[in-house]
C-alpha cells in the first residue's frame, strides 16, 4: 500500500443544547446532524480508508434513540463502502454504565471499532496494514501518553485521544492531558486529538498531532467554519493534513465600535451589511453616546435584524463618558446636569450596575429628546 488516507473529526456534540442561541438552538442542533451527514459524504467521496472520531461524537452519554439511529445510519453508509470508523468515547459521551457505547446498537457494523479500554490499546485494522491506538476518556492525573510507544507490527500507526494539550502556565489541569514530549516519543505516524474546539497543530518531534475542532461550530467565537481534517500518510514524505470546511454556520462574537456612527440608523446599516442567514452574531456594541443614540431600543433593533441572521444578539457596552462628552452640554441646562449626575454615579459602577446606569443615561436622554421606547 502506497499510503493511507484518513478523515479526522471530533467534538461533533450531536444532541447538544445551545442555550446561548435561545430559540435558534433547535435549528443548530438539527444542523449538527446534517453536518455529520456531510462529513460522511466527504469520507465516501474522498475514498478515505478510515474515519477517526476523537471523542464527543455525542453530547451526552445517553443520547436519545433517534439520534443514535441517525448516527448508526450514517456509519452504515461508510461501513457499506468498506471504510473503517474508529471512535474513542470522550468527556461528554463518556463510557459509563448504560451509556451509548455500552449498548448493542453499534455491534452490527463490521467496520466499526470503539475503544473501550482505559489504557492506550492497539486495534489492527483489517486490510490496511494499520494499527490504531486509542482509549476511553477517564479522569486521570498526568500525561496519559507518558511511556506510550507504538509497536512496529504494522506499517502505519495512528493514535486517537480525547485530551487537553499541556501548555505550561496556561493549560495544566484537565480530565485527560497529553504533552508534546510524550507525543514526540510515541512513534505514531499521526495523532488525532479531540476535546479542544478549534483546529490546531500540536505535533512534536516529527509526529503530526492535530485537533480537528468540531465540524460545525459550537460556541460563539471568531466565526470560523467548522472543518474536518483530511490526512494523507505517505510512504515517502511527511503526512499531509488538509482542513476541509464542512460546517454551514458561523458563530461570531465581535466588537462593533459605534463611535464613528451617526446613530442607531447607521448601526442598523452596519449590522445589516453583515447579515447572513448562516451567521450567528453576538455584537458587543460600544462607543455609542449622545442624544442621537437616545432613542435606541436594543430589543427592537435585535428583533428587526434577527430575521436576517441565523441568530443575533446585541450586547451594549457601558458608555464611558469623557469630560469632552460632558462639556458638550451646558451645566446650567437640565440635560447638562442630568449627564453630570450620570457621569458621577457611573464612575463607581461595574458590570450589570454599569449597564443599568448606561441605560438610565440613554433613557433619560431619550425622554429629554421626546423619544421614548415604550415596552
Amino acid at each position: 500500500m502506497a499510503g493511507l488516507r484518513l478523515l479526522h473529526t471530533s467534538d461533533v456534540h450531536l444532541g447538544a443544547g445551545f442555550e446561548f442561541l435561545g430559540r435558534s438552538g433547535k435549528d443548530h442542533r438539527a444542523q449538527l446532524k446534517s453536518t455529520f451527514s456531510r462529513v460522511v459524504d466527504l469520507a465516501i467521496t474522498s475514498e478515505v480508508d478510515a474515519i477517526l472520531i476523537a471523542g464527543d461524537l455525542f453530547d451526552s452519554a445517553y443520547p436519545h434513540p433517534g439520534l443514535v439511529g441517525e448516527v448508526l445510519y450514517q456509519l452504515e453508509r461508510v461501513d457499506a463502502e468498506g471504510i473503517w470508523t474508529l471512535i474513542v468515547p470522550g468527556t461528554h459521551d463518556r463510557l459509563q454504565p448504560g451509556s451509548v457505547y455500552e449498548g448493542k446498537e453499534f455491534s452490527t457494523l463490521p467496520h466499526l471499532h470503539i475503544f473501550r479500554e482505559s489504557e492506550m490499546a492497539p486495534f489492527a485494522v483489517d486490510g490496511l496494514d494499520l494499527t490504531v491506538y486509542g482509549r476511553a476518556t477517564l479522569q486521570e492525573e498526568g500525561d496519559v501518553l507518558e511511556g506510550f510507544h507504538a509497536s512496529n507490527d504494522t506499517r502505519w500507526r495512528v493514535g486517537m485521544i480525547h485530551a487537553s494539550f499541556i501548555l505550561p502556565g496556561k493549560v495544566e489541569r484537565d480530565e485527560m492531558m497529553v504533552s508534546g514530549e510524550s507525543i514526540s516519543r510515541s512513534s505514531l505516524d499521526y495523532l488525532a486529538l479531540g476535546h479542544w474546539h478549534s483546529l490546531g497543530d500540536y505535533g512534536k518531534g516529527g509526529v503530526p498531532a492535530y485537533y480537528s475542532g468540531p465540524p460545525e461550530p459550537l460556541e460563539m467565537g471568531r466565526g470560523d467554519e467548522g472543518k474536518v481534517l483530511l490526512v494523507e500518510l505517505k510512504e515517502n514524505g511527511p503526512a499531509e493534513v488538509k482542513p476541509i470546511p464542512v460546517g454551514r454556520r458561523r458563530l461570531l462574537r465581535t466588537d462593533v465600535d459605534a463611535g464613528d456612527l451617526d446613530g442607531p440608523a447607521e448601526l442598523y446599516a452596519a449590522l445589516r451589511r453583515m447579515a447572513d442567514k448562516e451567521l450567528a452574531l453576538e455584537a458587543n456594541v460600544h462607543g455609542f453616546w449622545g442624544e442621537e443614540w437616545a432613542g435606541l431600543n436594543w430589543d427592537d433593533m435585535e428583533d428587526e435584524l434577527s430575521p436576517l441572521f441565523f441568530h443575533l444578539r446585541l450586547q451594549p457596552s457601558p458608555a464611558e463618558l469623557s469630560e469632552r462628552d460632558i462639556d458638550a452640554y451646558p451645566e446650567k441646562t437640565v440635560i447638562g446636569r442630568f449627564i453630570r449626575l450620570a457621569k458621577e454615579e457611573m464612575s463607581g459602577r461595574q458590570g450589570e450596575d454599569a449597564l443599568v446606569a448606561e441605560e438610565a443615561l440613554r433613557l433619560g436622554l431619550a425622554s429629554l429628546a421626546g423619544r421614548t421606547s415604550r415596552p
Partner: protein
C-alpha cells in the same frame, strides 16, 4: 465671541464662498434655496464638527461631484483678540490661530470654542443660542405656553420637550413596565408577563429534567439488567450443565440397568428357543402318531369322548339315583305291622260273624295298617318300587352305549399304539402339556421378541452389550461433573429460581426498552432550556430597564429641580432688568415660578401682579424674547455665542416686529446677532446685510 468672516469650500451647495459679518445685527437675506440653512450649518460645523470625523453627516456634506472633503474657515474676535479657525475635513485636521499661537489639538480647540461660546455642542448651540421661526410663532399664535418654551430651552435637549415632560414620560414608561407587579392587574405589564412565562417554562423544564433523569436511570438499570442477565445466564448454563449431566448419569445408569435386564430377557428368550426346539423334537418323536390321529380324527374322537363323557355322566347320575332309591324308605316295623293289620282285619271280618268283639280286632287291624302305611312310610315304599325298576332299565341301556363307545374309542386309540384309553389319555395329556408349554414359550418369545425376528436376538444381544459398554464409557466421562440425586434436586430448585429471576429481568428489560424507545423527551428538555434562556435574557433586560428608569428618574428629578429653581431666580432679575429697560420702567418686576417657569408681571398701573395673558401681544413677544435671551446668558454663563435667529418674526405685523426688534437691538449691544430671512423687514435694524443668491 463675534464672527467676522466665514469661508466655505466644497461644503454642500457652496463650492467656494465667503461671508463677512459685523458686530450688532447681521441680516443674511436670500430667497428659498439660496443657502441660508447651509450657512447656519457651516457656521456650526466650523465650531463643533470634528475634522477627523467619519460620520455620515460629515461625509455627505461634501459638495456633489467634489472628490476632496470640505474646508471651513472662521475668522472672528473674542474679547478684543482675533482668532482664525480652520477645519480641513479633507486633510482631517483643524487649527486655531489665537493670540499669535497656532493650536492644532482638537481637544484644545474644542475647549476654546466652548469657553468663548459657552456651549459645547451643536445641539446645545441650536437649543440655546438658536431661535427658530416656529418657536416664536407657536407662542404668538397661542399654540404653546411661554413657560413651556422656556422650559424646553433650559432643558437643553435637541428636541422640543421639556424636563417636566421627560419626567412624565419616564414615570409612565416605568409604570407600564411594572404594571401588575404589586398586585393583580387586568393587563399586566411586560415584567409580570415575562415572570409568568418563565414560571411556566421552569415548571415544564423541571418536569422534563426529572423525566430525562428517569430515562438515564432507566438506561443504567437496563444496562445493569443486561449484566445481571449475562451473569445469570452463565450460572444457569453451569447449573443446567450440572443438572443435565446428573440427569444423564441417572438415565445412563437406568439405560445400563435396562440393557442388562433386556440382555437377561434375551438370554431367557434364547433358553426358551432352545427349549422350544427340544419340545418340537419331543413332539415329533413321542407324539407323532398321536398328533396324526388327533389331527385326522380329532372330530370323531372328540365327539366320542363327548358322548362317552355324557353317557358316563348319565350313568353316574342314574346310579346315584338308584342308590338313593334303594336305601331304607319305611320303618322297619311297617311291613310287619301291615301283615299283622291285614291279618287282624281279615280275622276280625271273619270273626264278626262270630262275635262282635272281632270288630274290635278288625279296627285294630285297620289302625295298624294305617299306621304302617303312613307314619311307617310303607305306602311311599310301595309307590317308589315302580320307579326303581325304570331306573334300572335306563342304567343298563346306558351301560350298553358306553360299552359301544368305549369299543369304538379303543379301536381308534389302538391306532396310536396305546393299549388303553387310560394310556391314550395319559399320552394325550402329556402331549397337551407339551403343547401348552410350547404355547407358553411362544407367548414369552412374543413378548421378548415382538417383531418375531427371533433370529436377531443374538445380534440384538451383541448390540445391547455394545450399548452398555458405550454408556459405561459415558458414565466415566460424567464422573466428577454430576451430583447425587438429592443434591440434584437442590440444583434443579436453584435453577428454577434463577430461571424465574431471569424471566423477571427479561420482563423488566422489555418494559424499559419500550419506555426508552419513546422519542423526543431530551429534545423537549433542550428546547425548554433554550426557551428559558431566551426568556431569562428578556427578563434581565426588562429588569435592567426598570432599574434604569428608576435611576434616570432620580437623576432627572434632581437635575430638573436644581436647574429650574436656579434658572428661575436669575431669570427674574434678568427679565426684570431687560423689560424695565425696553418698556421704560413699565414692567421691571417679573416673578418666575421655579417649578413651572410660569411668569407673572408686576404692573405699576394696577399695583399688582398680572397674568401674562392679560398683557398686549407685543408685550408678550417682548417678554418671551427677554426671557429667552436671558436664558442664553444663564446657560452660557460667561460665554457669548452669536445669536442665530431663523426669521423668527415673519408672521409679525410692523408694530409687533418693531417691539420685538427693540429687544434684539438691546441684546445686540453685547452679543452678535445673525438673522436669516427671506425678506427685507429686518434691513432697517441691520448693522450689516449679507445677500445670498440662489445657486443654480
Amino acid at each position: 465671541m463675534m464672527v467676522r468672516e466665514l469661508t466655505v469650500r466644497n461644503f454642500r451647495r457652496f463650492r467656494q464662498a465667503s461671508f463677512s459679518m459685523d458686530e450688532g445685527i447681521n441680516v443674511v437675506k436670500g430667497p428659498n434655496e439660496s443657502g441660508k440653512s447651509t450657512l447656519v450649518q457651516a457656521l456650526l460645523a466650523a465650531l463643533y464638527w470634528k475634522a477627523d470625523s467619519n460620520r455620515r453627516e460629515v461625509r455627505e456634506s461634501v459638495t456633489w461631484g467634489e472628490r476632496d472633503g470640505f474646508v471651513l474657515e472662521l475668522r472672528g474676535e473674542v474679547d478684543g483678540g482675533d482668532f482664525h479657525l480652520v477645519k480641513d475635513f479633507s486633510a482631517r485636521r483643524a487649527s486655531l490661530d489665537w493670540l499669535g499661537r497656532e493650536i492644532t489639538s482638537a481637544a484644545e480647540i474644542e475647549n476654546h470654542i466652548r469657553e468663548w461660546s459657552g456651549l459645547g455642542s451643536e445641539t446645545a448651540y441650536r437649543s440655546t443660542a438658536g431661535i427658530r421661526q416656529d418657536e416664536v410663532s407657536e407662542i404668538s399664535a397661542g399654540r404653546k405656553e411661554l413657560s413651556e418654551s422656556l422650559q424646553a430651552t433650559v432643558t437643553g435637549s435637541e428636541g422640543e420637550g421639556s424636563a417636566l415632560e421627560a419626567l412624565d414620560s419616564l414615570n409612565k414608561e416605568l409604570a407600564d413596565l411594572k404594571k401588575g407587579t404589586r398586585g393583580t392587574a387586568k393587563n399586566p405589564g411586560p415584567l409580570v408577563r415575562i415572570e409568568e412565562e418563565i414560571a411556566k417554562c421552569e415548571v415544564t423544564g423541571d418536569e422534563l429534567e426529572k423525566a430525562v433523569q428517569e430515562r438515564i436511570k432507566a438506561k443504567r438499570r437496563h444496562q445493569e439488567i443486561g449484566e445481571e442477565r449475562r451473569d445469570l445466564a452463565q450460572k444457569l448454563e453451569a447449573l443446567e450443565g450440572l443438572a443435565r449431566d446428573s440427569i444423564e448419569q441417572v438415565d445412563v445408569e437406568e439405560d445400563i440397568e435396562d440393557f442388562h435386564r433386556r440382555y437377561q430377557l434375551l438370554e431367557s428368550a434364547a433358553a426358551l428357543i432352545s427349549e422350544e426346539e427340544e419340545l418340537k423334537r419331543q413332539e415329533r418323536e413321542n407324539y407323532g402318531s398321536l398328533k396324526r390321529i388327533l389331527e385326522g380324527k380329532r372330530e370323531e374322537l372328540g365327539e366320542l369322548e363327548l358322548r362317552r363323557a355324557g353317557v358316563s355322566e348319565g350313568l353316574s347320575i342314574l346310579k346315584r339315583k338308584i342308590t338313593s332309591e334303594t336305601g331304607p324308605r319305611h320303618a322297619v316295623w311297617a311291613p310287619y305291622m301291615v301283615v299283622v293289620g291285614i291279618t287282624l282285619l281279615l280275622v276280625g271280618l271273619a270273626g264278626i260273624a262270630l262275635t262282635l268283639y272281632m270288630l274290635f280286632a278288625t279296627l285294630v287291624g285297620v289302625v295298624m295298617i294305617v299306621v304302617a302305611l303312613f307314619p311307617g312310610g310303607y305306602l311311599g315304599f310301595l309307590k317308589r318300587g315302580r320307579d326303581y325298576s325304570a331306573l334300572k332299565e335306563q342304567v343298563e341301556e346306558l351301560e350298553d352305549t358306553e360299552k359301544r363307545l368305549t369299543q369304538r374309542m379303543s379301536a381308534i386309540i389302538a391306532e396310536t399304539g396305546c393299549g388303553s384309553i387310560e394310556s391314550f389319555t395319559e399320552q394325550k395329556l402329556g402331549y397337551l402339556e407339551l403343547l401348552a408349554r410350547r404355547k407358553e414359550i411362544v407367548d414369552k418369545l412374543e413378548a421378548l421378541v415382538p417383531d418375531g425376528d427371533i433370529t436377531g436376538v443374538e445380534e440384538e444381544a451383541r448390540r445391547l452389550a455394545g450399548e452398555v459398554s458405550m454408556r459405561e464409557r459415558r458414565l466415566k466421562e460424567l464422573r466428577g461433573r454430576t451430583v447425587d440425586p438429592q443434591r440434584l434436586q437442590e440444583v434443579l430448585r436453584e435453577k428454577d429460581k434463577l430461571e424465574a429471576r431471569m424471566d423477571g429481568l427479561k420482563e423488566e428489560s422489555i418494559r424499559l426498552e419500550v419506555y426508552l424507545s419513546e422519542e423526543g423527551l431530551e429534545e423537549e428538555l433542550l428546547r425548554a432550556r433554550e426557551e428559558l434562556e431566551y426568556l431569562e435574557r428578556k427578563r434581565m433586560r426588562l429588569h435592567r430597564k426598570a432599574k434604569a428608569l428608576q435611576l434616570a428618574l432620580r437623576w432627572m428629578e434632581s437635575a430638573t429641580t436644581v436647574t429650574l429653581s436656579t434658572a428661575a431666580r436669575r431669570l427674574e432679575s434678568s427679565i426684570g432688568e431687560f423689560m424695565g429697560r425696553i418698556t421704560e420702567g413699565r414692567y421691571f418686576k417679573i416673578q418666575v415660578d421655579e417649578g413651572t417657569f410660569d411668569l407673572r408681571v408686576w404692573s405699576e398701573e394696577k399695583k399688582d401682579e398680572v397674568e401674562v395673558e392679560s398683557l398686549s401681544r407685543g408685550t408678550v413677544d417682548q417678554l418671551y424674547l427677554a426671557a429667552r435671551l436671558a436664558l442664553v446668558d444663564i446657560i452660557c454663563d460667561d460665554g457669548h455665542p452669536p445669536l442665530l435667529l431663523d426669521d423668527p418674526f415673519v408672521t409679525f405685523d410692523s408694530r409687533r416686529l418693531q417691539k420685538a426688534m427693540e429687544v434684539i437691538k438691546d441684546f445686540s449691544r453685547d452679543e452678535q446677532v445673525i438673522i436669516f430671512t427671506c425678506g427685507d423687514q429686518y434691513d432697517v435694524y441691520a448693522d450689516r446685510v449679507v445677500e445670498l443668491q440662489p445657486v443654480s
